[in-house]
Each structure stands twice: as C-alpha cells, then as structure tokens.
C-alpha cells in the first residue's frame, strides 16, 4: 500500500497540516519515501474521527481524550505518532458577570458535551471542591457557541480558541479557569492506525518529516514564517494577529526533542489515567467497560496504563526521535 489519506480539522494546533499540504511540503516528503499522502480537511471534528475509526482514513488529528474514547474504545488500535502541542490556556471556562470559578455553582454551562471542554470543566470544578452535579451541562455545538453567548442567554461557557477570544471580547466576561492551570493534560495529536503504521513505516516518517519542516518554517519570525502563519490564520477564518494570539496560548512542540521528552515524561501516564477515569464516568468507554483501565494505553519505555492485554492506544516517540536525530 502506498496511498494514504489523513484527515485534519480547523484548530490552531492543526493548521500547519493545511499549510504543509498546500505548500507542497507533504508531497515533498511523501515523494521522498515513495508514497502518496492525501490531506483532507474536514470541518466537523467528530466526523473526521468517526471516519478514521471506520477506516476511511489512515490518520487523523485529535486530542488525547478523543483518541482514547473514539478509535481506541472502538477497537481500532491507534498510535499517537506526533504530539503536536498541548493546550496552555487555549481552552477556558468563561463566566458572565462573575469572576470566580466557584461562582459557577448552580449555573447552566454551555459546552460541547463529552469533549475536552467537558474534561476541563470537570478538572476545574474539582479544583474548587465542586462536582458536575453542582452545575447543569447544556450541550452546545461549537460552531454556534459565539452567537449563543452573544444572545445573552448563557452565563457560563467552556470552549476553546478562537471562540474563547471572541467571547472574551464581549463586555462583562471573565475567564475563570483555563487549560494553563492543568498544563499538558489536553494534548493535540496526529493519530495513525497502528497496523498501517507497522506495515508502512514510510507513512510515519513522511508525516513526521513534513510536520517538523512546517513547524520550523512557521516558528521563525521572518518573512517566510509570517507568511506561513498568515496563511494559516486566513484558512482558519482570521488573520495573522488573530492566529498569533491563539498560538500564544498553545504550547507548540516546535522541536521534536521537546515532544519526545513530553512523551517520555512521568506526567503523561498520569494524565491519561485522569482522562480514562473521566471517560469511564461518562460512559465513553462503552457499555461493556468494567473499569477505567479497560482500554490499555502504552507509553514509550514499555510503560502501560490499564489492561495491557487490550492495548489500543500507543504513544510512540520513535518517529519523533528520528526527527530529533535528523535521521529522516
């Protein structure tokens, strides 16, 4: 097999994929390894993961939580090939006319249910001694979050950028909790099908190569870097300034070595345990799941969380390591 399809959707940490595809970087790396890679934009994030899970794509961008609850829980053995970034303030809890997180108690909270926003809310509530029972969660589509809040009805929302900055621009709003207070827990990944990757290491190499070349272009504050970020901004519906603002609250791993270090860190298994227990509590691991560890997660260095007989999600730093070593 030498033709592959990967899916991405619009989010600050994934815009490099659009640039990489449009500017020919992906093609260059694919050619180098003698394969073809089609990069497909999908506007509905969940739909892209579903498609990947159903087998329509070989790779897809998603968060660590969704990687666990959708493909892994659906029995599709998946590998987190690239750890692109973690949210460092990009996701936030916002209140209207209130300034303290504890004041959220008793309110209706608009958010995309069962998404990382939901997770962030749970973590935030725990940090002030509240639980989900103290609020009412209203599932609200992300596309309509801004206009919903502008309508004046909702008093509390949890969402991500660029919606956060749009909402914060409205009067009498305050950010009361954000992902910078749980650094490294909301992680944006490029996930590929493990079986496909094992059979075709070229896919992993090409993707990782293309990714870090793109990041090295966009990370520089020179003409080319600004042009790249401008393009990414436009494609996500904003401009350079808007995009830079979003990047500021995102901890991008511009250097592969950083990402490798993150993958090997002690924190990652703990984070995944936290996420698994949240997912289990909300029924995301499926009706048949007896405990949060039902789905095994593997980490670099032969470390595991959960049932290592049912490993379905693997954090693999090998390809990023090659990039760090300049071996691609």
């Amino acid at each position: 097999k030498d033709q592959f399809r990967i899916a991405w959707s619009i989010y600050v940490g994934w815009m490099p994929w659009d640039y990489a595809a449009e500017s020919g970087i992906v093609k260059k790396w694919a050619d180098k390894y003698g394969i073809e890679i089609e990069v497909v934009q999908i506007n509905d994030y969940v739909e892209s993961i579903n498609q990947y899970t159903a087998g329509a794509f070989d790779g897809c961008v998603m968060t660590n939580m969704d990687a666990l609850t959708i493909p892994a829980a659906g029995g599709v053995d998946s590998t987190a090939l690239i750890i692109g970034d973690f949210s460092n303030g990009n996701d936030a809890v916002i209140l209207r006319d209130k300034t303290e997180l504890a004041e959220i108690a008793g309110q209706k909270v608009n958010l995309v249910e069962l998404s990382v926003s939901h997770y962030l809310l749970a973590r935030g509530l725990a940090s002030v001694g509240l639980s989900e029972r103290d609020v009412t969660v209203v599932n609200t589509s992300d596309a309509d979050m801004v206009s919903a809040f502008a309508s004046g009805g909702p008093t509390a929302v949890v969402t991500w950028n660029p919606l956060v900055s749009e909402i914060l621009a409205m009067p009498n709003t305050a950010k009361v909790f954000d992902s910078s207070q749980i650094p490294g827990e909301i992680i944006d990944l490029m996930v590929v099908n493990t079986e496909t990757l094992e059979a075709n290491p070229a896919l992993g190499k090409a993707l990782v190569g293309a990714w870090y070349e793109t990041l090295s272009i966009m990370s520089k504050d020179d003409e080319a870097g600004r042009a790249a970020r401008t393009a990414m901004g436009k494609a996500s519906g904003t401009d350079l300034a808007g995009y830079d603002a979003q990047l500021a609250s995102t901890k991008m791993f511009f250097e592969p070595a950083e990402a490798v270090a993150f993958a090997k860190s002690e924190q990652l298994p703990l984070t995944m345990e936290e996420v698994a227990s949240f997912s289990f509590d909300h029924g995301l691991l499926g009706e048949g799941a007896p405990n949060p560890g039902f789905i095994g997660v593997a980490f670099p260095g032969e470390r595991y969380f959960g049932d290592d007989g049912n490993l379905k999600l693997r954090f693999d730093s090998a390809y990023m390591q090659m990039a760090a070593d300049g071996a691609l």
Partner: protein
C-alpha cells in the same frame, strides 16, 4: 401474458412483495455487520442485531443518571413536545396568514412577494440571528421549526384558498355574507383539512429542523442524544433512535390522516380507498 402494465399481484403476493425489500435490507445489514465484527470485535459502526436489541432494552428500561427517568422516554417526550409546539404554532400562523393572503387581495398584494422571498432564505444560514432574538432555551428550538416550515405552510394555504372555486365566494355574497363572514364560515372551514395536508407534508422538514436544533443546544431530546453519542460512535444507540424516530414520524402522519378523515368526511369522499 398480459402487458406488464396490466399485471396486478394478488393479496398474498402483494404482502410478500412489500416485505421483500425490508428483508433484503436486514440481511444485507447482517452480513455487513458480521463481516466487520469478524475483523474487529469492538467495531462500533455496525453493531450486531443482538447488541442493538440489548441496547434498545437498556434505553427503554434503564433510568438516566441526570434525572432518574428512562432515557428514551425522556428524549421522546422532550422532542415531541418541541415538535408539537413548533408545528402547532406554524399551523396557526399558516392558517391565519395563509387565509389572509389568499382571501384578501389587498393583503396579498402587500405581503405575498415578501413571504415568497422569506421562504427562500435557508434558515440554517441565519441561525445566529435567531439565537440573538430568541435566546438558546426551549424557545429557540421551537422557533427554528417555526421558521423552517411556516413559509411553506403559508404559501400552500394561500394557494389552497385561491383554488377554492370562485363560485363559492360569489354564492356566499349573494347570501349576504360580509368579508369577515366569508372568511369565517366559507373559507376557514374548507381550508382546515387542507391545513392538515400541509402539516403532513411539512412534518419531515419539521423533524429535520428539530434534530438540527437539538444538535445545537439541548440537554435532552432525540436529536440531542444522537449527536451526543455520535461523539463516541455509539451506533448501537443511534440506530435504534433512528428507527424509533421513523416510527414516530409514521405514527404522527397516520394520526393526522385519521383525524382528518374523521373530522372532515366531506373532504375525503372520492379518495381512492387503497
């Protein structure tokens, strides 16, 4: 052999023929599901019939964590309430505005083009405006249905009123009726069964808008559940819900048809029995 066009199946073969495509579909699903499950036993996309049945039992018996009610009934109740409100309001507006447009030339000249243009605006595109005006609560879901189907009902009823034989309007005038009386005693009663027809025609669209609205902001409802569990590809929930919605849609349609037959026998004479 008779021409194909003249061949009519008997009673039994009609029933058999009618069942056939359903059976074929079920078999096809079964094979596809088996094939996928053989490859990946955790596959969620095409759950087996037994999983579907289990899941259906669970949905209809297990109480929800949030409210303690049975999920399916809770969702059904919420959705049907919204649907009934939305369709009810649309029907009321449709009746009043449609009759006014159809019966009174001055009003028709003033508003028919406006209504025609309104009916062309895709409601999904103006969602933000709807939110601003109607908020995010129950109201906005009902409003989306209303916005979605009222233009059709209004225009259909206007048409129906204009199709009433001119002779009847003249006859009413020769019986001394004033405009109001003509509307009240001649046009309205004749148009109500036609309103039911229009409502039946627009129910499909109403479901569409209901599900879209519930996908945008809700805490319960059939559409809400489908979009929520889509997040973890729980087809074992989605498929029973789809079947259930289809059944509800069929029942609503059937009830409306029967109500119309009962209440307006004069309207239904001459309809083919089959």
């Amino acid at each position: 052999m008779k021409r194909l066009i003249n061949q009519r199946p008997g009673r039994v073969s009609t029933a058999a023929l009618a069942l056939l495509p359903f059976v074929v579909l079920a078999l096809f699903y079964m094979f596809a599901s088996d094939a996928r499950l053989a490859e990946n036993p955790n596959d969620k996309l095409l759950p087996s019939f037994s999983t579907l049945a289990e899941s259906f039992v669970r949905l209809t018996t297990e109480p929800s964590q949030r409210t303690g009610e049975i999920l399916l009934w809770q969702d059904t109740e919420a959705s049907l309430r919204r649907l009934a409100q939305g369709v009810g309001i649309s029907a009321a507006i449709g009746l009043i505005v449609g009759v006014a447009l159809g019966a009174i030339p001055l009003i028709r000249s003033g508003f028919a083009p406006f209504v025609a243009v309104l009916s062309l605006i895709p409601p999904m595109a103006v969602l933000p405006v709807l939110f601003i005006v109607f908020g995010l609560g129950e109201v906005s879901k009902v409003v989306l249905i209303v916005v979605g189907i009222t233009p059709f009902i209004v225009r259909d009823l206007q048409q129906r009123v204009q199709e009433l034989p001119r002779e009847l309007i003249i006859k009413a005038q020769t019986l001394g009726a004033n405009s109001w009386q003509i509307v009240l005693r001649v046009i309205l009663p004749q148009v109500v069964p036609r309103l039911i027809d229009a409502v039946r025609l627009s129910l499909g669209t109403a479901w569409l808008f209901l599900i879209s609205a519930e996908a945008i902001a809700a805490t319960e409802g059939l559409g809400y559940r489908i979009f929520l569990v889509r997040r973890y590809l729980a087809m074992d929930v989605i498929l029973p819900y789809v079947v259930w919605i289809t059944l509800l849609a069929y029942l609503t349609d059937f009830l409306l048809k029967q109500t119309s037959r009962r209440a307006f026998p004069w309207y239904h004479t001459g309809e083919p029995g089959r």
